[in-house]
Symmetry: C2
Subunit: 293 residues, 2 copies
């Protein structure tokens, strides 16, 4: 590792960022998280936003992942096409400065179907390197935009994005369902029933309105509406993800509060899954990239 | 008709209102439209908002339809359950004052499926009375919340709401697709292709993200993104609406710029449809109710 002093790994998304000081063995020795996602940083404000990270975690080299490398971020790191392994990401690093490297996203393009990811690739391939997932398996990576990813021999072979998290947030924030969706979402009975319904039949935009009608006509409790709506969206998501029949192990990588919901919905489709902490995968992936610098 | 002087009919929705002065023969003699939808009126502001209408169109009795009768409106008019005909609406009028009647909405509840409408019922049954639609047929009524309505013997027999318009507006206003969706939506090639795709296969929340990926990877033009996204949403809507096989005539009632898009998408499902102007239906319906007062 050229970075003998260690480095700082940053998972820099749209609405927040998490920064970790890493030693050369791959151990995290300090960290912080804040809401300085790329949308809160003016176009010419990234050098200052990066200086702020070094003020807090030390003057070390930086390895940056996520939307920071998009056309709305600091500098655009071209996508690495599928199939993509950890070596491909290392080769595709964009050096934004002599001590600042941006990890590229991954693109998928076949038969006219197009898809992209930024930020998930490092977690996925970190999980492979750390033996946290089957290197030939199916991975679900929930977040604002959930990804269903087929791994083959440790590489990202193909994937599909589902806008579940963003649609839920839009409905909660701005829609006619807004006042019904402020409650907690749990993998309770309402969630599981809605997930099972959505896995069985595909009519999401229709079922969503029924959330309101059911409450108005006394068919369901207002307190259940958020879990029910989340169940409809995540169930639809699982139906899409499992539409290609596979016997492979399903891993769900991400924040525990989200992986729990997806695991419950996958259970409604009579499939098992294993939940994996996304942060652990990120650190493993950053360490693997740093070893190759 | 008790209202021998004529009356004012108001189609009072969430974000705007349209008011028409009607003579006893059912002819509209004056009208206006503004953005004083119910959400812009404070809870105790409806008497003033109504005085404003009379200032502009004369001191006549008022027949009010739409969200004005909801729990967010002036006074709540209880839903009339399906099957519902024009006489049921007339019997269900809520007299908010001695010269102000609110037309009730219609509810549907069967086998645990719940749905509601407010404002469409008067257009649907007005269209029946004016012989603008087949009294036993399938009607599509696009708007913020599209309704697929089965008419039987001139009554609203059952219906299903699809949140197409609202989802499109949320995506256009607030989502990651926002900058791509500012263009005009036309029933062009991109629209028709997306509608055909969505009618054929159901993966809306997944296909929506592909709008962005396709532009990023050079697979489609940015200028086509709005029409493409609208095609995905309306195609999904048509797939839901036509999921119960029917040989009945399909009528599309609403604003011409919307009925045109739905007619084009229905065409992609190899079905014919007839476009009917929603305003004409509203006036016919209001006249029928007034005759029964």
């Amino acid at each position: 590792m050229r970075w003998a002093e260690g480095f700082i790994a940053v998972d820099w998304g749209t609405t927040n960022r998490r920064a970790y000081r890493m030693d050369t063995s791959g151990k995290c020795t300090a960290e912080f998280e804040d809401d300085k996602g790329i949308l809160s940083v003016p176009k010419d404000g990234f050098p200052a936003a990066i200086a702020d990270i070094r003020n807090r975690l030390g003057d070390h080299p930086l390895l940056l992942a996520g939307m920071i490398g998009s056309n709305r971020g600091w500098k655009e790191a071209a996508y690495v096409p599928c199939p993509a392994g950890i070596d491909d990401l290392a080769k595709g690093l964009l050096w934004a400065g002599s001590r600042e490297a941006i990890i590229p996203g991954v693109s998928y393009l076949r038969n006219g179907r197009a898809d992209v990811m930024r930020g998930e690739e490092i977690q996925l391939l970190g999980a492979v390197a750390a033996h946290l997932v089957d290197p030939t398996g199916l991975v679900c990576h929930p977040g604002t935009h959930n990804k269903w990813v087929t791994l083959r021999h440790g590489q990202i072979s193909e994937f599909q994005t589902v806008m579940t998290g963003e649609i839920f947030n839009l409905l909660k924030e701005y829609s006619i369902l807004s006042d019904l969706l402020q409650g907690e979402v749990e993998a309770n009975g309402a969630f599981k029933q809605a997930a099972a319904d959505a896995i069985g039949e595909a009519a999401l935009t229709s079922e969503l309105f029924s959330v309101r009608a059911r409450v108005l006509l006394g068919q369901s409790k207002k307190e259940d509406a958020a879990a029910y709506t989340s169940g409809l969206l995540i169930g639809t998501d699982v139906r899409i993800g499992l539409s290609i029949p596979t016997a492979a192990q399903i891993s769900v990588i991400g924040r525990p509060e989200l992986t729990k919901l997806y695991a419950a919905a996958i259970g409604q489709a009579q499939r098992d899954s294993v939940e994996v902490d996304g942060e652990k995968c990120f650190l493993a992936g950053a360490h693997e990239i740093a070893k190759r610098i």
